[in-house]
Each structure stands twice: as C-alpha cells, then as structure tokens.
C-alpha cells in the first residue's frame, strides 16, 4: 500500500490537517500528560506542581498509608467479585433469553436500562433503598421481623455488598447483551448434535458453548475491567468511601489528594500506581490478542 503512495509532507495536506486532533490527543494528552504525571510523582509537589525531586518518598508514603492499602484491597475485592458475578450472571441471563422466549425484547430492555444511567443516579437510588430506617431493613422490621438486620451502608464488613448490588444492577445488562449476541452466532447444529447424543443442556453450555464464546468472554472481561479501574462516581454517590475507609477506592484517593487535600505529589504517585496496574494487565492481553494476528 504505502509503496504505491510515496508519502511526503506536502501530499494530501487536507488529510494531515484532519488528523491533527488525533495526533495531538495521542501525543500531547495520552503520552505527554501521562509522562508528566509519572515524572511529577517523584517530586514533593503540594498545592502546585514543583519540579523538586524527592526520589521515591511519595511512594513510601503511599504504601504506608492505611487508606491507600484499604483502597487497593477494596478495589481488588470489588474487581474479582464483579468480574466473576457479571460474567456468570450475564451468561446465565443470555442463555435464558436465548430459549426462544416470548417478550425477549422486553426482558432485554429491562436488564439493560440501568446501563444508560449515570453512576450518580444508580448510587443515589441504592442509597435510598438501603436506607436503614426507611429502606429494606426498616420495611422488614415494620412488617414484624424486629431483629432483621441488613444495613450494608453502615457496616464496614458489608459495604462492598452494597457497591456490588448497585454495580451489578448497572453493568450486568451490557454483559448479557454481548453474550446474547455471541450465543446467536453459535451453530444450530451443535444443539442438534448434543440433543441426539442425549447430553444435558447445561453440560453443552459449559463444555461446548463457553469454549466457543471465548472471544466474547475476552471482550466482556476487557470492558468490565475498564469499568472496574474507573470505579469512582458510584462510590462517591453511594457510600462516600465510608464507613471509615471501608469502601475507599484508588480513583477516589487520587482525586481527594489532588483536589481536596492539596497534596499533588501523593495524587501523582497513586495515579502512577493505577497506570502501572493497568499496564501489567493490558500489555499481556494486547500481546496475546493482537501479537499473533498481525501476519501481513
């Protein structure tokens, strides 16, 4: 291709002009800003960024902060459970919807609608439903079961359950839709063959269909994973990070240190750790997915 069109800087000036926003975004924002943050994470910047280098001091402080460690642990728990539950639920829902049922569109719309909402809306609704006095707990108690206790928003051990309830409510629809599209692509003959052989449906799903849907699962994992790292709005709206540090997450640590606590260096170090974590996950995935595919 490129041999046919010998490129020079003056050829197709319009095309190059059109690509300027992309080039600027890629180089200045995605590369430039990321590098800037990494570099300044080694400084003692407080209220304003200062190029006063301080070695790994910010990272020492970061990893000895109980709030940061709690944030990382919370995100790990939330991430693992979200990944497992939304893949499982998404697949089961898609399999249910794939049984040639009536009103499939209605069910699909119902499962998917929260995905159109803001995390702020989701967080505030669930905060209200989980209100200890007037929400589910209050209602069950008023109905006569006085000792009933379900107050995840005020119990450090259960607050992640509240985040999961809201997060899965919002995100499972997306996985369901992707899985359903995948299931529709599965060859009808596989079902005929397994029925002839008398293999139960659940076994066919688990041993035949799931392996066929591997690319769909990979796509889902990437999408869910991207959402997990971003987890911020939902926490702000639903729990505010509390009780105590029980639902703090890294993205909130970064925001609070940069914009509320006026400790930029800590924010830069924490965000650099987030970048590092993403790179550790994304690079092997990219090599596996795209590395082998580039034949020509």
């Amino acid at each position: 291709m490129s041999t046919r069109r010998p490129s020079s800087l003056l050829r197709n000036p319009m095309a190059k002009l059109a690509a300027v926003p992309m080039v600027v975004t890629a180089t200045v924002v995605f590369i430039g800003c990321s590098l800037w943050t990494v570099v300044y994470s080694f400084t003692d910047s407080k209220l304003l960024p200062r190029a006063n280098f301080d070695g790994f001091a910010q990272y020492d402080r970061l990893w000895s902060s109980s709030r940061w460690i709690a944030s990382v642990e919370n995100l790990a728990i939330y991430g693992i459970l979200t990944l497992l539950l939304s893949l499982t639920l998404g697949f089961v829902f898609a399999a249910l919807l794939d049984q040639k049922i009536r009103g499939e569109n209605v069910f699909r719309s119902i499962i998917l609608y929260p995905y159109a909402l803001s995390f702020i809306v989701t967080g505030l609704v669930w905060q209200w439903i989980l209100n200890p006095d007037l929400g589910i707990q209050g209602m069950v108690r008023a109905a006569g079961w006085e000792s009933f206790a379900f107050d995840p928003l005020n119990s450090p051990g259960l607050v992640m359950v509240a985040l999961l309830m809201a997060g899965l409510w919002q995100g499972t629809g997306l996985v369901t839709v992707i899985m359903l599209a995948g299931l529709r692509g599965v060859d009808e003959d596989i079902w005929k063959a397994s029925r002839v052989d008398g293999i139960p449906a659940w076994k066919t799903y688990l041993l035949v269909v799931v392996p066929i849907l591997r690319p769909v699962f990979v796509t889902s994992v990437v999408l869910i994973g991207a959402g997990i790292v971003k987890l911020y709005d939902l926490v702000v709206a639903l729990t505010g990070g509390g009780p105590g540090n029980a639902s703090e997450v890294p993205a909130k640590y970064v925001y609070d240190y940069m914009f509320a606590n006026q400790n930029l260096g800590q924010g830069f170090a924490a965000s650099t750790m987030m970048l590092l974590a993403v790179l550790v996950i994304v690079i092997p995935w990219a090599v596996l997915e795209f590395g082998g595919k580039r034949r020509g």
């Binding site: 926003p21 995605f30 803001s118 709005d233 925001y255 993403v278």
Partner: protein
C-alpha cells in the same frame, strides 16, 4: 397405559395411516415445566432490575409524612408533584437555590457542543485513517486506542495545567475540549471501522470524478453513513450527560453539570433530608439518557456493541 401402543386409527379398527405425521397427545407437560422455570427466573430478575425505578418514581410522588411512616415500595396514598417542582426549581446547592434546572441547562450547554465537536473531529479522522493513509497514521491510531485504557486519573491534573494556560479552566468550553479528547478513541474507531466496510470503488469513483478530500467526505460518505452518526450521537450524548468526574474537576459551581449538582443536592449534609425531592431530582437527571435509550432501542445496543468491537 403401557400397552396402548395403537394409533387412534388402529384403536378404531382402521388400518394405520403411516404417513399421517405424529399422533397422540403433544408432550406438553415437560416443556411447560421448563418454560415456567425460565419465565419464573426472568421474572425474578426483572423484579430486581425494575425495583429501583419503581422506588424512585413512587418516592418522588409521596409527601414526606407518608415516607416517614412507611413502606418504600408502596405506591403513594396521596399523589403529589410538589417534590418534582421543588427539585427542579427550588432545591439548594451551596448558595444557589434555583434547583436542578441550572444543572440541566448547564448539561445541555456542555452536551450539545461536545457531541457535535467530538463527532465532527472523529468522523473526519476515521475517514482520513481509511482513505487517506499517511506515514505514521496507523501508529497514532494505535496510540489513540491504547490511550483509551489509561486511567483518567493519570491525565486529569496535567490537563488542568493545560486548560489554565489557555484560559479555559472552569469554563464550559474547557470541558467540551476534554470530552472531545476522551471521546476520540471510541468514536474514531467506530467511524474507521464503518468507513473501512464500505466498498473502495465508491471512493475511487468519486476521485476519478474529481472530488477532493472534503467533497468525497461530505457528498459521498456522510449521506450514506447516517445510521453510524446516530449511533455515535447516542453514545456521546448519554456518555457526556452521565459524566461526573470531568464535570466536577473542570467546571465551577456555576457551570456544574447536572450529575455534579444532583450529587451535591442529595449528599449535602446540611438540613433535613427530603427523600422525595432527592428521588425526584435523581429521576429527572436519569430521564434524558433513559428516554434516549427507550427511543433509540436497537441503535443503542449497536452503540454498545461498537464499544465492544476490537480494533
């Protein structure tokens, strides 16, 4: 029952009609039990999924005394629209007491230019990437796609510095620029994949006819790409409307988008909590993306699928 191996014809003493197709009662019962279970499971799932919407609507239509007494799932005994009026026009955030309407119009002022600008930039960009490749264009595109994986937290502060330098920090236009930049990877990918799927002859024929860069784009490609423009619009309008992080960082209280203002109204610690007003405000904020979702139907799903497609 085991010895009744006859068809109805044989039982009546007539010769069997072997080619008459299946005979006897349809094996209904087994299928029905399975169906009941499937519908039952889907019903339960739907209940959990609809519950928050139900609670939101019901709470927003009740008066505070009724809320304090009772059951959040029960429909209102006495329907009142007062919470909606208050949420829209009177609810307070900090010093302003002109309700969520301020945030609503701020969000409109943010979403419209952001959507137009990001789609204009990304569609031209996708077109250039497919039909006017130049040395390095694929490299920049790859960086752009991988950039979509970088956590926003890594880039938010340097962007504050840049916006301060060019004098756009705290203004709506600064936020528009940020949305255009962060919407670029997915929207460019969307258009690039779509334009790449069109026959190349189209482009060549237009070139032979003497059309240039803009002529081909505006007169040949855009008119036949309206569905993909619709998908991009749905994706951008809902995404930007629902944004919270960028809004809270790059705008001031006067120009806060609706999501930020909503959070400030509901999660403010001062005063008595008015749950009905809060739920009305939450519902109003959710109404815009929700109506887009309900109206656009299949296109919304297509937008999501586009987000799922790999480059």
């Amino acid at each position: 029952m085991a010895d009744v191996a006859f068809t109805p014809d044989q039982a009546a003493g007539r010769p069997a009609r072997t080619l008459a197709g299946p005979v006897g009662a349809r094996p209904k019962s087994r299928i029905t039990a399975k169906r009941v279970m499937i519908y039952g499971a889907l019903g339960l799932v739907s209940l959990y999924w609809l519950l928050p919407l139900w609670v939101m609507v019901m709470t927003s239509l009740k008066g505070m005394p009724e809320i304090r007494m009772g059951n959040i799932f029960a429909p209102p005994v006495e329907v009142t629209f007062q919470p909606w009026v208050k949420a829209w026009a009177e609810a307070c955030t900090g010093l302003n007491c002109d309700g969520l309407s301020r945030g609503f119009w701020n969000s409109v002022a943010i979403v419209v230019p952001s959507t137009v600008l990001s789609i204009a930039v990304a569609s031209v960009n996708g077109y250039a990437l497919v039909n006017w490749k130049f040395k390095g264009s694929e490299v920049f595109f790859t960086i752009l796609i991988f950039g979509a994986f970088i956590p926003y937290q890594v880039m938010i502060y340097p962007i504050v510095v840049i916006l301060r330098e060019i004098g756009l920090m705290g203004s709506v236009w600064g936020l528009v620029l940020v949305h255009t930049v962060f919407g670029m990877p997915i929207i460019t990918l969307l258009f690039r994949n779509y334009f790449a799927s069109l026959p190349e002859e189209l482009f060549k024929a237009a070139r032979v006819d003497g059309a240039g860069f803009w002529g081909i784009f505006l007169r040949v490609l855009v008119p036949m790409s309206l569905p993909i423009f619709a998908v991009a619009m749905i994706l951008q309008i809902t995404g930007i409307w629902n944004d919270f992080l960028f809004g809270v960082i790059y705008t001031k209280p006067d120009t806060y988008p609706m999501t930020v203002q909503l959070n400030n109204i509901v999660n403010s610690t001062q005063g008595v909590k008015e749950y009905n007003v809060n739920m009305a405000a939450t519902l109003i904020t959710g109404l815009v993306p929700l109506s887009i979702y309900l109206i656009s139907g299949k296109l919304f799903v297509r937008g999501i699928a586009a987000g799922a497609v790999k480059g």
